[in-house]
């Protein structure tokens, strides 16, 4: 197991380097080499995404956009499909356990999906002006996400004022059984207006960069709206399938390359299942720190690419 701790992080960092070397030297790797490398990288993203408690999209877009030869347009499109697939894979179990809440997801996903469609058009427009604008803003955004991940706290059961009028109107709340204690927990939300406003921004960014939204929606639902962390993680994962609505726009514009999308979906889904099995055996704080380092490197790489370095 100790060997694995060393091997996996090193592989995550080293795996894209042949691609980097290729772009530098201009040598041509065959298509199946790229597809295989993509599968390997997304497989590791699947493992680490689950263990670090973030979606795959936030790792996929900067890593693949920074180190692979594909245009950022195709990478963002694939990122949305990857986020969609991971959401679809987990949704049935989360809904059955009443951890993902349709009632909470409905207003959140409605606002975020509307703004994510706007974000997708904004991203394609920026990319048409110059791909370096997208790469540069992606780099800055990823470094901001690194700061959010480094500093944000989690609250198991936040204290909530139940008199929030919008929460009462929308009947935002529910009940679930806490697995560790068998206790029945009732929850509700507050600061609903602020939470929904945050989701407008989250949706815009998710659509613009194909990042998914778990990195932002979990803290918003947990810390701003006051839902328990388990509800926040599950509802965020479930809502993602709706927030990735701009995947249609990429599909309609001819921006979906099966050679990028299919290996990425397969790699992430297999990796996520292995990650879920490894989860009880690893230290989440170590994995989280490792992912933060990889993200920071990917963010810096995006910035470097934007400046033609």
């Amino acid at each position: 197991m100790k060997l694995m701790y060393f091997f996996l992080p090193v592989t995550v960092i080293l795996a894209p380097l042949p691609a980097l070397a290729d772009t530098v030297t201009g040598s041509a790797m065959p298509w199946w080499g790229w597809a295989g490398l993509l599968f390997l990288v997304t497989f590791l993203i699947g493992i680490f995404g689950v263990m670090a408690g973030i979606g795959g999209g936030v790792l996929f877009v900067p890593l693949v956009g920074g180190f692979f030869p594909f245009h950022i347009d195709f990478v963002r499109g694939a990122g949305l499909f990857l986020a969609l697939s991971t959401s679809l894979a987990s949704a049935p179990q989360l809904l059955k356990a009443n951890l993902a809440s349709i009632k909470l997801s409905l207003p959140v996903a409605m606002i975020a999906s509307g703004f994510s469609i706007l974000g997708a058009y904004l991203g394609l427009w920026l990319s048409a002006l110059s791909p370096s604008y997208v790469q540069g803003s992606l780099g800055v955004l990823i470094l901001m996400i690194v700061v959010i991940m480094w500093t944000s706290k989690r609250s198991e059961h936040p204290l909530v004022r139940p008199d929030d009028p919008l929460s009462r109107l929308l009947e935002l709340g529910g009940t679930y059984i806490e697995g560790s204690t068998g206790q029945k927990i009732e929850w509700t939300t507050h600061r609903t207006w602020i939470g929904l406003a945050c989701f407008a921004v989250v949706g815009l960014v998710a659509g613009m960069f194909g990042l998914g939204s778990g990195w932002a929606s979990v803290p918003v639902i947990n810390l701003v709206m006051g839902a328990p962390i388990k509800i926040a993680v599950a509802t965020s994962g479930f809502s993602l399938s709706v927030i990735t609505t701009p995947a249609w726009i990429y599909l309609n514009k001819g921006g979906v390359l099966p050679l990028i999308v299919a290996p990425s979906i397969f790699g992430t889904m297999i990796g996520a299942r292995i990650g879920a099995k490894l989860l009880p055996k690893v230290k989440p704080s170590f994995i989280r720190r490792l992912v933060i380092v990889v993200l920071a490197l990917a963010g810096l790489r995006s910035l470097a690419k934007a400046f033609g370095i």
């Binding site: 041509a28 298509w31 199946w32 790229w34 597809a35 030869p69 594909f70 245009h71 347009d73 195709f74 499909f81 969609l84 697939s85 679809l88 949704a91 989360l94 809904l95 059955k96 009443n98 349709i102 009632k103 409905l106 409605m110 999906s113 509307g114 469609i117 990319s127 791909p131 929460s167 009462r168 109107l169 929308l170 009947e171 935002l172 709340g173 529910g174 009940t175 009732e186 929850w187 399938s241 709706v242 990735t244 609505t245 701009p246 995947a247 249609w248 726009i249 599909l251 309609n252 514009k253 001819g254 921006g255 390359l257 099966p258 050679l259 999308v261 299919a262 290996p263 979906i265 397969f266």
Partner: protein, 138 residues
């Protein structure tokens, strides 16, 4: 009345299980189709519209340039190209991206039947957004 509202606030929607079942069924079907079509494409059993050795020259282009150079269809016109190995993959991919719309349609019907007007309103509005994005009209 007030107590009834407070009570229903903590009740989970009864449609969660049905939503989960439909989502699971359609996404498994989409993944199965994608696996088969990608194998046929990858192993060269079905001829692609863009030969693999040429694809590597085009994937560094922006979407508009890629479409202009390769002449691939946009919008729903890909349906007429499904006999090509690469475009056959779009069947599974489209099925996957359709899952939320199908589940929201089910949710809309169930919430209308259950007279949950607010739930039905939000579901209907989101469904319109999804269908607009899917239609290629926006």
């Amino acid at each position: 009345m007030e107590n009834k509202t407070e009570q229903s606030r903590y009740e989970n929607l009864p449609y969660q299980a049905a939503y989960g079942k439909l989502s699971s069924w359609v996404s498994n079907l989409g993944l199965a189709i994608l696996t088969v079509s990608f194998a046929l494409y990858g192993f060269g059993i079905v001829e692609p519209a863009i030969p693999m050795d040429q694809l590597t020259q085009y994937w560094g282009l922006s979407i508009p340039d890629f479409v202009a150079k390769t002449g691939v269809p946009t919008g729903w016109r890909w349906v007429t190209w499904v006999d090509k190995g690469d475009f056959a993959n779009l069947i599974g991919i489209t099925l996957l991206v359709s899952v939320p719309s199908l589940c929201y349609s089910l949710l809309l019907v169930m919430s209308l039947r259950g007279k949950k007007w607010l739930i039905a309103g939000m579901t209907g509005l989101t469904l319109v957004l999804m269908l607009l994005a899917a239609s290629n009209l926006v």
